[in-house]
């Protein structure tokens, strides 16, 4: 589903974010990108969503070479990807439901259908009762759940979560984790970059990055966990 082949990302001569990174992520996996700050975790996620392009190497998402994708093709790639960011990047002058409806509206959905689906997505993350609140009046954890609802509302094949539990208390972090697990359980590929080791217990594929390189790589963890 997602394949990195000798991917390097270099911003300048001395600033190398990723260096010769290769890995493959299968459909329906729950992948945990681990590593210290500056290891290149966010860069990996940004490259999958084509927010950044590789300096060299190939990135395949659903057999599509993301690095060579024309800018006109990017929106259609991103419509299959749900993005959850540490800074939720909600529109603070719109209510919660309008924020969640946005990915559907950009695809040209009928507003009434979009609202119905947004309500369903908010219900899944336990935020339906606050659908008409402004994001500013929500807690950090609630805002993150809204951003999860926005990420899943158009039923993406892939969810990319960049530090989704950073700055959240334990209870909020658990709610976010439960939501992500729920989507994984219905076959969505989830790639989570985090310092939060709680994700390790749920992940069936762990990629450990350090200084822009893959240091460790564990696949098919679920059977081992079941045995233990």
């Amino acid at each position: 589903m997602i394949e990195f082949q000798h991917v390097t990302k270099q911003y300048s001569k001395d600033a190398i974010a990723l260096s010769d990174v290769s890995f493959t992520i299968g459909k329906g996996e729950l992948v945990f990108l681990a590593g210290p700050s500056g290891a290149g975790k966010s860069t990996v996620l940004n490259m999958i969503a084509a927010v950044e392009r590789p300096s060299s190497g190939t990135i395949l998402v659903n057999s599509q070479n993301v690095g060579k994708l024309k800018s006109s093709g990017l929106p259609y790639l991103r419509r299959n990807i749900g993005l959850i960011l540490q800074q939720q990047r909600l529109l603070y002058d719109r209510d919660v439901i309008t924020n969640v409806m946005l990915p559907l509206i950009v695809c040209g959905a009928v507003p009434s259908d979009a609202e119905k689906r947004a309500r369903a997505a908010l219900d899944k993350v336990g935020m339906l009762d606050k659908a008409f609140w402004l994001p500013m009046s929500l807690s950090g954890g609630e805002q993150q759940r809204v951003s999860i609802a926005r990420a899943i509302v158009n039923r993406p094949q892939i969810i990319l979560a960049d530090e989704p539990t950073a700055n959240l208390d334990r209870v909020s972090a658990d709610q976010v984790l439960s939501a992500l697990k729920a989507f994984h359980s219905v076959g969505v590929t989830c790639i989570i970059s985090s310092h939060d080791e709680q994700f390790l217990d749920s992940a069936n594929h762990v990629i450990y990055l350090a200084k822009g390189k893959v240091v460790d790589h564990w696949e098919d963890l679920s059977p081992c966990r079941e045995l233990s």
Partner: protein, 308 residues
Amino acid sequence: MKTLFRQHVFAFRVSLRHFFSPRSGFFLNVLVVAIALSLPFAGLTVLENVRPISEQLSVEPEISIFFSLETPRESVKAAEPQIMQILQETHSYGKLEFVSRENALTKLQDKSGMSDAVSALGGNPLPDAYVLRLAGFDNLAEAHRIDTIASQLQALPGVDLVQVDSAWVKRLSALLHLMRLSLLFLAATLGVVVIAVVFNTIRLQVMSQREEIEVSRLVGATDAFIYRPFFYTGALLGLCAGGLALGAVAITLQPLNQAIADFARLYASEFQLTPLGIVPTIAMLIMSAGLGLAGSLLSVQRHLARLR
């Protein structure tokens, strides 16, 4: 097709939201653009009002052919077929009227009320003449043909003076042409001003909605989806400003017309300035919206490309 329509409706709604947002200062921008547009609109209104008068004046130009006092009546009469031939040669036609020196004197005495003064002259100082009323001249652009006829008439034997009565019409035509050119120049200059104002307005909107644009891109919005509301905003700005400018010009005509009526009455005229007709009004509104659209197009291409 339905999806595209829906997206246009959405873009229009977003642009309306920009329009009524208290932070956008949109009405101030509309006012600035309206002021810039009102000058060429006012000029156009005046030109459109004067144009029919100038056209009417030029329909039947007159040429007066005065013979010298020594020319015998028979020679003057003999010139008639020659005049008609000149008309034929220049592919013109018109009505030729002979005005004898006696008739001319009588008319002068009747008209001027100076019969005593004319009688005091002791004789008739007026020559025999022909008045040639040319027909088939639709516009002032054909004035050069009158000059050709006049110069050929001047060459006829016994002719002392050929007076083209449309000379002042030509001067008016030249003046109107100059006004039209000035108006065009003014309109072009102010058009650039309008584009610059819209450009800056949209630039500020792009900057204030930077987050929304970036988020929309992340969730799969196409460039067209992002650009469209700004295009509508620019066009709406131009349209509203155009409407405001046309309204302001129409309102200004009312007090102006009172002054014009007083002036025109001195010349036994009922001339009044009227607002632009429905077709020019629609054309001006479309042009205003077009200018707004052009400003937003330039701004969006420049600033959203930077954001990317």
